[in-house]
């Protein structure tokens, strides 16, 4: 059965159970439970890293682990740890179930990246979705939370149904749900006779996946969920699960259907272009920072889809690098949003921030500039890397569109800077000092500049896992 290759996941499952027991015995001791969770995660991370180069197949072909999947694990771990740090300052009184859901969602994501069977993929997807529901709805009494949770639930169920239909059709066509077998059969048999079926399958699968990464036109949930959910959870949502979404796309489209990229490339190309433009254009009119970042995350998904269209080795590396750098940007931004306060996330609430708390304004400006993709920040290098993979396969128009979108996005990202630096506050409040939120902010800034100025080391590691 080869169970040891899933040792990190097993450790995490035990931690999850432990968290529930501790919560039962001594309820609502947030920092204690959080620390236990962090320790569990660090232990899992340790085993993950110690087995970094070990590849293997386990659980009767259900999971296939390689260094590249462990690269994704790393992003998930970073997201989870940053979320726990944020939660220490952000939540005053919540039950320890928060950490339980956090761990289960982490397990869901990790299994997603490692599953080599469509059914396994589906199961881990559901694990992830349901855990996320718990995270989104954790503050039951906050306004818009019920709306956000319900919306996420309905649409997640909806997209899962599509995905499941896709899986069933795949089974009908290939008599298997194993991804590498599908790939082999496609290589061997070709498309004769099964092309219409495959197209329908791919459309169904893509719909399911597009929901996860919030691609147009399956993005409707994003702004509402982003506005309603607690800021730290939103940061986690746009880092980890989104990366997981791309991991599934890599699994199904790039691995499973790699023999005939021409049948899905068209769909993904249009998806990428529309997602980029729609996300950026919609963000232009948004005056709430959380909603704006929701549209921006849609736009970022569009950029990453560009890499998928190019179907080459660089694309894999570019996606991992992008999600890594995006994790830091988004956590940094949401750390500051958490400090200012969830219910004060209108642009007007940021007016004059440079006067009341210059450091926060400066950091926020860096996060916004990085998201715009200005050089020396990781936002530039990651975007550049993604478009480089597209340019390599001669998708010149996608590259031009991508960078033009960068110019469009400059408008709304820099508008935040305008409010912070160029407008005066109507009333000035001092922002309280939050040690954990600040630590996340510093971690984010350090990594943004590290990845932006000296990406070589990380490039090397990622490329070596391919």
């Amino acid at each position: 059965m080869n169970a040891h290759i899933l040792l990190p996941e097993i450790i995490l499952s035990i931690t999850a159970a432990l968290v529930l027991i501790i919560e039962f015995l001594t309820p609502r001791r947030l920092q204690f439970i959080g620390t236990v969770t962090i320790l569990g995660i660090l232990l899992a991370l340790f085993y993950d890293l110690s087995m970094f180069r070990n590849a293997g197949i386990g659980f009767y072909g259900m999971v296939k682990v390689g260094p590249f999947d462990r690269m994704f694990d790393l992003i998930f771990f970073i997201g989870a740890i940053l979320l726990i740090l944020l939660s220490f300052d952000y939540f005053v009184e919540i039950s320890g179930e928060f950490y339980f859901f956090l761990i289960t969602s982490l397990i869901g994501m990790m299994l997603l990246a490692k599953s080599s069977d469509l059914f396994m993929l589906f199961l881990s997807l559901e694990t992830l979705s349901f855990s996320l529901l718990g995270l989104i709805g954790i503050l039951k009494r906050k306004e818009f939370v019920a709306e956000a949770t319900l919306k996420y639930f309905v649409l997640a169920a909806f997209s899962s149904a599509f995905f499941l239909f896709g899986i069933i059709l795949t089974y009908v066509i290939f008599q298997t749900t194993n991804i590498s077998e599908i790939s082999n059969k496609l290589f061997a048999a070709g498309l004769t006779g099964i092309k219409p079926g495959i197209i329908v399958t791919l459309v169904l699968l893509t719909v399911g996946l597009a929901f996860k990464i919030a691609a147009i036109p399956f993005h409707m949930w994003t702004p509402d969920v982003y506005e309603g959910a607690p800021a730290p959870v939103v940061a986690f949502l746009s880092a980890g699960p989104k990366a997981a979404g791309f991991a599934i796309i890599l699994k199904t489209l790039l691995s499973g259907y790699q023999a005939h990229p021409e049948i899905w490339k068209g769909i993904v190309t249009y998806l990428a272009v529309f997602t980029m433009f729609w996300g950026n254009l919609a963000a232009l009119k948004t005056r709430n920072l959380k909603r704006m970042l929701a549209y921006s995350t849609i736009a970022h998904a569009g950029y990453v889809l560009v890499a998928i269209v190019s179907v080459n080795q660089e694309a894999y590396a570019a996606i991992v690098f992008y999600m890594l750098s995006y994790t830091f940007m988004v956590f940094g931004a949401f750390a500051i949003i958490s400090m200012i306060g969830d219910s004060h996330s209108n642009l007007e609430d940021y007016a004059g921030l440079s006067r009341t708390s210059p450091l926060l304004a400066f950091m926020m400006a860096i996060f916004m500039i990085s998201m715009t993709g200005i050089p020396t920040t990781s936002g530039f290098i990651s975007k550049f890397y993604v478009f480089m993979s597209a340019a390599k396969t001669n998708h010149i128009w996608l590259v031009i569109f991508g960078f033009i979108n960068g110019a469009i996005s400059a408008y709304y990202y820099l508008r935040v800077v305008v409010y912070m630096y160029m407008m005066d506050a109507r009333e000035e409040h001092a922002v309280p000092y939050f040690p954990f939120l600040r630590s996340v902010m510093w971690i984010a800034v350090i990594f943004i500049f590290y990845l932006g100025l000296f990406p070589q080391k990380v490039f090397e590691i990622i490329v070596s896992t391919l």
Binding site: I374, T376, M388, I396, V399, I400, I404, Y411, V417, M422
Partner: protein
């Protein structure tokens, strides 16, 4: 890792900015004194570059390669030739003066101001020193943010609009530039099998005509927006008018030159055949810019807007000059870049000083300044004449050479350019008359004459205005190898090996003979 002088010049302003973070924002004077000191040290460092610079040599000096991202073939490759050096000197010179001029002008957020100015200095110098396309792009885009803050925070009424317009225009242009760079990069790989952004290696590439035409346009549009060449110029008046004085000076003095520099350093040598193909188009656009800029300046009521549109006209001359592809035109354009930086920079300083006194820039509000501010008016007059291109002052040298070049390349173009010079005299003299002469308006009666600090802002510029005007030889000699290398790269397109050979400069001799009337050396 030992740092070489050029890299030190590039990163010194950023290093100098670090202590500012720990300084108190309350004490404005200390902040400015410190920053002035830093910019002066930086200027001194750039003079050391000049000291060790070997004149008349072809190729790049102070060349250094540090590892940056080897896996994609990008390196921190810097090096300068005469053109880069003269522009770097201009940058450090104008930044120091810009700080000196802002002591009274900047009333709030002084700490942020000096950080932004220092960051911008690094960006500008980096652009002129990069020999790696990705590094160049990095500095090129990095520039945007400080300039955006400069316009947006310390600008005038419509500052936010102007700042956005500036950033979005430039970024849209950069989209084409970076795409062009990527295509060139992969084309190079397909030919040589090497992934590299190194400019000197890419110079050896012979890009096929069809591809070169597209790539040239991609580069050219990005640079044309920055210059700005006629249909892309609309951001310029807004940005210039709204920016604070030092911002306008750096914008006119240095940032606009980055576009021209881009043509000469990247677009021409990489795609020579395409450059020849599109030359008539760009010459025409240059001429349109000259005439259009002149007409627009003529009708402006706002002093700063007038100077801004006169920039469009001057840059039209420079564009005309570089697309003549002969020694006169190119040398004239390069020297005119410096001249424009000096005279337009000085004009912006002057407008800023007037604004500090009267808080208006409307021409009709002034009048009779010669009586109340005699010294100021004399300096203003000299700068204005240098901008028109009066013989004996720096503007003449550049415009005359461009004219010569244009005449050799296309007589038709030269006729129009001459008309442009006449218009320049018309709008500048009209403005000068209305501001400095006529009857003294009551409101202007008590205006103080130029202060010592202001004098020290303008005096160094005056020195160079006369120096270049009377004895331009050292400047021409400094940029001569660059110009002839560019021309050779264009003219020898049939020659696959575009190695730059050593040769002496007979053309330079001829030029200095024509202008100064004496034999060089």
């Amino acid at each position: 890792m030992k740092l070489d002088l050029l890299s030190l010049v590039i990163i010194f302003p950023i290093i100098g900015a670090i202590p500012v973070f720990f300084m108190s924002p309350k004490n404005k004077k200390v902040l400015f004194d410190y920053t002035l000191l830093m910019t002066l040290v930086e200027f001194l460092l750039s003079l050391f570059l000049l000291k060790g610079f070997k004149f008349g040599l072809y190729g790049f000096q102070y060349e250094h390669v540090y590892k940056w991202i080897p896996s994609i073939g990008a390196s921190f490759h810097v090096g300068i030739d005469g053109m880069s050096l003269i522009l770097i000197l201009l940058t450090t010179f104008l930044t120091a003066l810009g700080i000196l001029s802002s002591y009274n002008y900047i009333t709030h957020k002084a700490k942020e101001y000096v950080i932004v100015m220092l960051l911008m200095e690094t960006g500008m110098i980096g652009v002129f020193a990069s020999l790696d396309l990705l590094l160049f792009y990095l500095f090129w885009e990095l520039m945007l943010i400080p300039m955006y803050f400069l316009i947006g925070i310390w600008g005038h009424e419509r500052r936010v609009y102007a700042a956005f317009k500036f950033v979005i225009y430039t970024m849209a242009g950069s989209a084409l530039l970076i795409t062009g760079i990527l295509v060139l990069y992969f084309y190079n790989h397909s030919v040589t099998g090497v992934y590299t952004f190194d400019l000197l290696k890419l110079y050896r590439l012979n890009v096929p005509y069809d591809l070169a035409k597209k790539l040239f346009l991609a580069f050219a549009i990005a640079f044309a927006i920055k210059v700005p060449i006629f249909p892309f110029h609309t951001w310029l008046p807004d940005a210039h008018v709204e920016a604070p004085t030092a911002g306008s000076v750096l914008l006119a003095g240095v940032l606009l030159k980055m576009g021209i520099y881009g043509f000469l350093r990247f677009a021409f040598p990489l795609f020579p055949k395409a450059a020849i193909h599109y030359a008539p188009l760009f010459m025409a656009l240059g001429i349109v810019g000259i005439i259009y800029g002149a007409f627009m300046s003529w009708v402006q009521k706002d002093l700063k807007k007038l100077v801004a549109y006169s920039s469009v006209a001057h840059l039209g001359f420079i564009v005309l000059g570089i697309f003549t592809f002969n020694m006169y035109g190119t040398q004239g354009a390069v020297i005119q870049m410096v001249n424009h930086g000096l005279s337009t920079g000085a004009l912006f300083f002057i407008v800023g000083m007037l604004y500090e006194r009267r808080h208006t820039r409307l021409i009709e509000e002034f009048g009779g300044l010669a009586k109340v501010m005699p010294v100021f008016s004399v300096i203003f007059g000299i700068v204005m004449l240098s901008s028109i291109g009066l013989p004996g002052l720096n503007g003449f040298i550049g415009e005359f050479l461009v004219m010569l070049g244009a005449f050799k390349a296309s007589k038709f173009a030269a006729y129009f350019a001459v008309v442009g010079i006449i218009f320049a005299a018309v709008y500048m003299l009209t403005m000068f008359q209305r501001v400095v002469f006529l009857k003294v308006k009551e409101k202007n009666l008590g205006l103080p004459d130029i202060s010592l600090r202001e004098f020290f802002v303008l005096a160094p510029i005056l020195l160079f205005i006369f120096w270049i005007g009377i004895y331009p030889k050292p400047y021409l000699k400094m940029t001569e190898p660059t110009s002839s290398a560019v021309i050779m790269q264009i003219k020898s397109t049939q020659n696959a090996e575009k190695e730059i050979k050593m040769l002496t400069g007979p053309v330079g001799e001829e030029i200095s003979l024509k202008i100064t009337g004496r034999k060089a050396r």
